[in-house]
Amino acid sequence: MGEPAFLILTALAGEPKHGYAVIEDVLDISGGQVRLHTGTLYSVLDRLREGGLIEVDREEIVASRLRRYYRLTGVGQERLAAETVRLRRNADAAAARLSGFALRPGTGAA
């Protein structure tokens, strides 16, 4: 699972959101590091819908324009949980290696 898909699933794990709210939430979750473009957002949303990871929660018309709210499905929740475990394991492994790296003579922080 790519980073945009992971962040979008994370954004939808809280409550159903529409497209622009997802972009803002992803920006917030990533500490301002990831700003999703609209093309990317809807390519990933379409793929996640096709895979059954998210679904449409409700639709409304705002300023004569369709606005859809998306929510996580049970499958999406499982995938996000599994991906979180995988990423945490990798991050823990990296942190453990880095702490050992810093303790070795000549490699400590300047």
Binding site: Y20, H37, G39, T40, R68
Partner: protein
């Protein structure tokens, strides 16, 4: 809405028009809302990064990348089915000829004939293509189909100067072969059983397998009559009693024809049971080869009848080559266009009906 936003909206509309129709139908309204929500108050032009992203995503979806709209998925499904069916057909054709010739030869003089080396490469290619067409290994299946198709074309091109009429007669098969190789290349990760259903895919493949062995059964059960002068004739059950080897054509009788017809109908039934959008695309894909099969004999009648009477044979003129190459391409393009336009038309009609229904319901709910 401010004039700035109207200009910006028009420019975004042009960018969104690059996306496939199905994707636009599903997400255009939403995407426009998001794009405008993210725009600065006086913004008139789309940002460079946003523009590049929209173009990149649109191109990616157009070439059938992941996340393609449903219409493009139908094309991918049809390509997967078309690729498999043609590869099965060509493999069946080659195996049928090989079985009938080897067993027919064995019936006549007790010796097993060796199949000409020129067909081994094509048979190997079709076998690999069929085996991997069911899997997500797109490149392996496509490579097998390309090797087989180009091998079929090369054999015909090599034989063309001495036997030009044969190239014209089998041109439709060459078109199918190259089309199948192309289809297996562009199908993406779609598998044919996804469109046909696993059970129908198994039934259809089994029908092809039966078709492949029927000529061998026919030849092995054929009646061989020997004459005192060393001559012979061979006749399959219910078929012609062919003196000699009937110009190299294998004999076929009731065993090939009756179960063969049943198998062909089973295959047709399996294809017709595919969902309607896939079925329409399959018709557009098969139409060029079927039309060539029907049109070439009357259009090239003079050429087919007379060319072999000359020594060396008369070759095709440039106009005839142009017809053979352009006709199937144009026919496919027209077919694809009709499918897309027809579906768009049906969608618009459906939208109109839904709007009418909604208006009637609103009217009924309004207190008089």
């Amino acid at each position: 809405m401010s004039e700035h936003h109207e200009q910006l909206e028009r420019r975004y509309e042009r960018l969104l028009a690059l996306f496939p129709a199905a994707h636009r139908r599903e997400y255009e309204d939403e995407m426009m809302g998001v794009l405008l929500a993210g725009a600065a108050p006086q913004q008139r032009y789309p940002g460079l990064g946003e523009t590049a992203n929209l173009i990149r995503c649109a191109v990616w979806l157009r070439v059938g990348g992941r996340g393609a709209g449903s219409a493009d998925r139908y094309w991918a499904s049809a390509a997967a089915v078309f690729g498999l069916v043609v590869c099965l057909m060509m493999l069946t054709y080659r195996l049928g000829i090989m079985g009938a010739e080897v067993l027919g030869g064995w019936r006549i003089d007790g010796r097993l004939l060796i199949v000409p080396g020129q067909w081994w490469l094509a048979m190997a290619g079709w076998t690999v293509a069929v085996a991997f067409a069911f899997t997500r290994f797109r490149l392996v299946a496509a490579a097998g189909a390309w090797v087989a198709a180009l091998s079929e074309v090369a054999v015909e091109i090599i034989g063309y100067p001495s036997w030009p009429s044969h190239l014209v007669e089998v041109w439709w098969m060459l078109v199918l072969s190259v089309g199948a190789a192309f289809a297996l290349t562009v199908r993406g990760r779609t598998r044919p059983q996804g469109a046909l259903g696993v059970r129908r895919t198994v039934v259809m493949s089994s029908a092809f397998a039966v078709l492949a062995v029927l000529p061998a059964v026919d030849a092995s059960l054929a009646v061989v009559t020997r004459y005192g002068d060393g001559g012979f004739s061979i006749g399959a059950l219910g078929g012609y009693n062919a003196p000699g080897w009937l110009g190299g054509h294998h004999v076929s009788g009731v065993i090939t024809l009756v179960p063969g017809l049943i198998c062909a109908l089973v295959i047709l039934y399996c294809l017709l049971r595919a969902e309607a959008p896939v079925r329409r695309r399959l018709v557009a894909m098969f139409a060029p080869a079927l039309a060539l099969n029907l049109v070439v004999p009357p259009v090239f009648n003079g050429f087919l009848v007379s060319t072999q009477r000359f020594n060396p044979p008369v070759l095709l003129v440039p106009g005839q080559w142009v017809f053979l190459i352009v006709f199937p391409l144009v026919l496919f393009a027209v077919g694809a266009l009709l499918v897309v336009r027809g579906e768009r038309h049906a969608h618009l009609i459906e939208l109109g009906r839904a709007a009418e229904r909604e208006a009637r319901l609103k009217q009924a709910a309004t207190p008089s």
